[in-house]
């Protein structure tokens, strides 16, 4: 029993609600929301140390023991993701201070960001599949508000689609949980794992697992990403960056968790299917990124490629491949936030997203230009930046499992992503400077710091891979060996 685990969920809820009460004090909003992310970061570092020394930590809410009550389980993967979430949110909030506008700030922007974080952290930490549904809903309701906050015409159009898609997937999520409950009689994920292993993963169980896969694919943007480019390009930059960094990752996490802990008995069907979906989303995403000449479109399509890549590694279901997935997942959260922030800044400065209408920005904004260059290399996996290590392990994993086509597609799409981000770099930053002082639509004042933090982080993750090696290996071990998770949750009763 470890009460630290609940803190990443309740800190943002408490802070968000306090901010609702003190509505008019914007400085308090800024200060407390930053403080909340810092606290979550500290808690997750403490948890990382405890997990490293003492193994997976659990918390049975209200003292109701697993499998009867709701259990929160902090394993390495979940806590690593909580930590990265806190860092990314910190940077996006800093960016929001000078970009989001007073109107949105007064209309509970910070509160809803914090509720979103509460949902994301809850989904990472919960050990109960119905609770995961609830946390998804908390996260989604907050994201509905954030996507439509401001109420411009295009925002409302896209948020209507976004809400409809997510309503349908949440409905199917609930149906899938009901099927699973009727077959196994439990909702605790460790207990589910035991019962599915006992009863065997027959055809019906595999069908239910594919229904789950469908639901999470819709949420993660794995192949079913048709809603994603539209809805991620309408909200303001800071919000879009939070969405790109976090929301799809929760779907990916759910797929990884469910198909490594519960439905891992028939990888010939389920994992191959994940692999095919991953390949399709890599190819389609890369094609989208290559085809468009609009900066926001291109970077939203790279989100889709990233989702495909993480799950390609997972689909190989080998130690090396999953290690690559974990590295790449962490990298992707950082670098997607970074590239969205930079892309948004470019649009903020020039007033347009069209690549052909701008050029030569590097003369006026050298720092921004070089940060974009680093982010671009990192997205496409050039050493020594953080994307490289993940990509190499993922490729090695897919080759090891005999999915040569999957690894090959991964490499080809990496080149396509490299082409598309370099296209942005060359068109926006190189060339004749056509932007004069008075044509600028804004300044970079106050915007550079959060981007600099994320840039340093992607460099540090690349150069200091050794440093987090131990933690990632711990996470991979937990994923490859479900018994560790089960023992931590159900073995608790004996004490």
């Amino acid at each position: 029993m470890n009460n630290l685990i609940i803190l990443p969920v309740i800190i943002p809820i408490i802070t968000g609600m306090v901010l609702v009460i003190f509505r008019n004090n914007i400085w308090l909003h800024r200060f407390l929301s930053l403080l909340a992310t810092v606290l979550i970061g500290i808690v997750s570092v403490l948890l990382l140390e405890q997990i490293r020394t003492k193994g997976i930590q659990i918390l049975c809410l209200g003292g109701w023991e697993a499998p009867f009550g709701i259990t929160l389980v902090a394993d390495m993967l979940a806590v690593l993701l909580v930590l990265v979430t806190a860092i990314v949110t910190f940077c996006c909030l800093c960016y929001a201070f000078s970009s989001i506008g007073a109107e949105r700030e007064r209309h509970y922007f910070y509160s809803f960001c914090l509720f979103l974080i509460a949902g994301v952290n809850g989904a990472f930490l919960t050990g109960d599949i119905f609770n995961m549904f609830v946390c998804f809903e908390v996260m989604l309701v907050a994201s509905y508000v954030l996507i439509s906050l401001g109420g411009s015409r295009i925002q409302l159009r896209e948020s209507a689609k976004y809400i409809l898609i997510n309503m349908i997937s949440s409905f199917l999520f609930l149906v899938a949980i009901a099927f699973l409950y009727s077959m196994t009689g439990t909702l605790n994920m460790a207990d589910l794992s035991v019962r599915v292993a006992e009863a065997g993963q027959g055809g019906l169980m595999t069908a239910v697992s594919l229904l789950f896969l469908f639901v999470f694919s819709l949420k993660a943007g794995l192949f079913l990403f048709f809603w994603l480019p539209g809805s991620y390009s309408v909200p303001p930059t800071a919000i879009a960056a939070i969405f790109a960094a976090l929301l799809t990752k929760v779907g990916i996490y759910a797929i990884i968790r469910l198909f490594s802990l519960v439905f891992y008995h028939d990888p010939g069907v389920t994992h191959l299917f994940i692999g095919i979906l991953a390949a399709a989303s890599m190819v389609l995403g890369a094609m989208g990124a290559v085809a468009y000449w609009d900066i926001k479109r291109i970077i939203t399509y790279t989100v889709v490629v990233g989702v495909g890549f993480v799950l390609a590694g997972f689909a190989s279901f080998s130690l090396v491949g999953i290690r690559g997935s974990v590295y790449y997942l962490i990298h992707d959260m950082v670098v997607k936030a970074l590239i969205f922030l930079i892309g948004g800044t470019v649009i903020h400065l020039t007033g347009t997203g069209k690549l052909r209408e701008m050029s030569g920005l590097i003369r006026m904004y050298p720092k921004l230009g070089w940060m974009f260059f680093i982010a671009a290399l990192s997205v496409s996996g050039i050493p020594p930046l953080s994307g490289f290590i993940g990509k190499i392990f993922i490729t090695e994993g897919t080759f090891q499992s005999g999915y040569y086509w999957l690894g090959g597609i991964g490499l080809i799409t990496s080149l396509m992503v490299l082409y598309s981000v370099m296209k942005i770099f060359m068109n926006v930053f190189w060339g004749y400077t056509n932007l004069t002082e008075d044509m600028q639509k804004g300044t970079t004042r106050g915007l550079l710091l959060p981007m600099a933090i994320l840039t340093l982080l992607t460099i540090a993750l690349g150069l200091g891979t050794e440093g987090i090696h131990e933690y990632v290996d711990f996470a991979v071990e937990g994923l490859m060996n479900p018994n560790l998770y089960i023992d931590a949750v159900l073995g608790f009763k004996g004490q």
Partner: protein
């Protein structure tokens, strides 16, 4: 919304609102062992307020109940969460609850549970959220 000019409705409301409010409290209190609880109690409470909205206008009711319902929601959630945090005192898990019976002067031997505090929070959150929704829809014309 301007109030309805209906003598029967106006007269009945004066009695009915009191009954609904009493019933909502009954639902709330019985929730610990029987059907009811914070959520349903809160909703019944909201029903009474909505009836007042229909009979007199929203402005008049707002002037008499001078609280911002968004703050009520926030307060409710905070109460609930802090009840859970209270469970963490003494190394117990989050949301742990304590139950005991106390000898009160008039009621005699009465069962007291910290779970009720959690329910108070739920009720306030439900009341605040539903009234905020209803008022913002009502004003949005």
């Amino acid at each position: 919304m301007k109030g309805l000019n209906d003598v029967i409705l106006r007269t009945a409301t004066k009695v009915v609102v009191v009954i609904i409010l009493a019933f909502s409290i009954h639902l709330f209190v019985s929730g610990h062992h029987n059907p009811g609880g914070g959520f349903i109690g809160g909703l019944a409470f909201v029903a009474a307020i909505v009836l007042l909205f229909l009979v007199s206008d929203i402005e008049k009711v707002r002037n008499n109940i001078a609280v911002d319902f968004k703050n009520v929601t926030a307060l409710g959630v905070l109460i609930s969460v802090f009840t859970g945090v209270g469970g963490m005192i003494g190394g117990k898990p989050f949301l742990n609850q304590v139950f005991g019976s106390v000898n009160l002067p008039i009621f005699g031997e009465t069962g007291m549970a910290t779970g009720v505090l959690f329910d108070v929070g739920v009720a306030l959150a439900v009341i605040g959220a539903s009234l905020t929704i209803i008022i913002s829809i009502g004003e949005d014309r």
